[in-house]
Symmetry: C2
Subunit: 178 residues, 2 copies
């Protein structure tokens, strides 16, 4: 609960900017969205964005947090028949925000904020994946390697434009071994 009207407006306004940013970053991409366009879409001037956010990367982090939250909520509601299905679902979700994914990997190097977000994201997803794979009976010595291979494979699928059937067989191979 905000302490006063001023704080309330602050959050609302911030959210409006994030909402506009989410739509533009996902549809056109972060790099293809100058601050000015974002400002116009949010109905403010460019400088107003800098009142609410330190820089463009901080807007991106807010968008990422929002998307992650929404998709994680979704994830917890879905039940999967097997691990292959689960991986394919994740790939599909990430493909809907593939421009965000590649932007994160790009800006990682130059933005500390994005770097931190990325690390947390990996820690979280690797944790979830490890738990799932334990129930599948993956040997603990190979666990770390297999978790990372799975994560890297999913990331590769997102950035390398692979046929649908290859996607399926890759997820199957990850889930069932060779």
């Amino acid at each position: 609960m905000p302490r006063n009207k001023s704080d309330q407006n602050r959050e609302e306004k911030r959210d409006e900017i994030v909402t506009a940013a989410r739509s533009l970053f996902i549809k056109d991409g972060f790099e293809a969205t100058p601050i000015n366009r974002l400002a116009r879409a949010a109905g403010v001037s460019a400088n107003t964005i800098y009142w609410y956010f330190k820089d463009k990367d901080e807007v991106l982090v807010a968008v990422l947090d929002g998307e992650l939250n929404a998709r994680m909520t979704e994830y917890l509601k879905v039940t999967f028949t097997n691990h292959t299905e689960r991986l394919l679902w994740v790939v599909n979700q990430l493909e809907e925000v593939s421009l965000l994914v590649s932007t994160v990997h790009t800006r990682l190097q130059s933005s500390a904020a994005i770097n931190v977000w990325h690390e947390r994201f990996h820690a979280m997803t690797e944790g979830l994946l490890r738990a799932e794979m334990q129930t599948l009976g993956v040997a603990s010595e190979k666990m770390d390697a297999l978790v990372k291979i799975s994560v890297f494979a999913v990331e590769g699928l997102l950035s390398h434009d692979v046929s649908g059937s290859d996607k399926t067989s890759i997820c199957e191979a990850l889930a069932t071994g060779w």
Copy 2:
């Protein structure tokens, strides 16, 4: 053999620029190397670079071709005791040019020239890898999936800063199955 002195100079000058670019792009990164700095390092003015190259990406492609050539020559000379060794060798080579690797994945999206180079690179490496894995007795139905998983895993290793022991166990898992 160049047809005249003019052509000869042209190639030499081009090479000087590429040599300077190679060193800067590998050490500092492509994005952190403005055309002006590159020009100074090559002993020419910025515009001269645009006489020899269409744009900055074309310089990058020339650098990539040179590095690829050098490392492929090296690769053909080395003999490996097993597939794990081979994968680790490749990872080590790529780590020496990790800034180039991440730049390629970044500029892929905005530069047609880099995109083409990247596709060729993948076609080549996947071809080599497939041949190796055939000798290891990988089932042909799973071949495409396993090749791509290996490539994606190697790319993941490069961009995600993984401990040395994890690198080894990942390459082992890729080489021996799970």
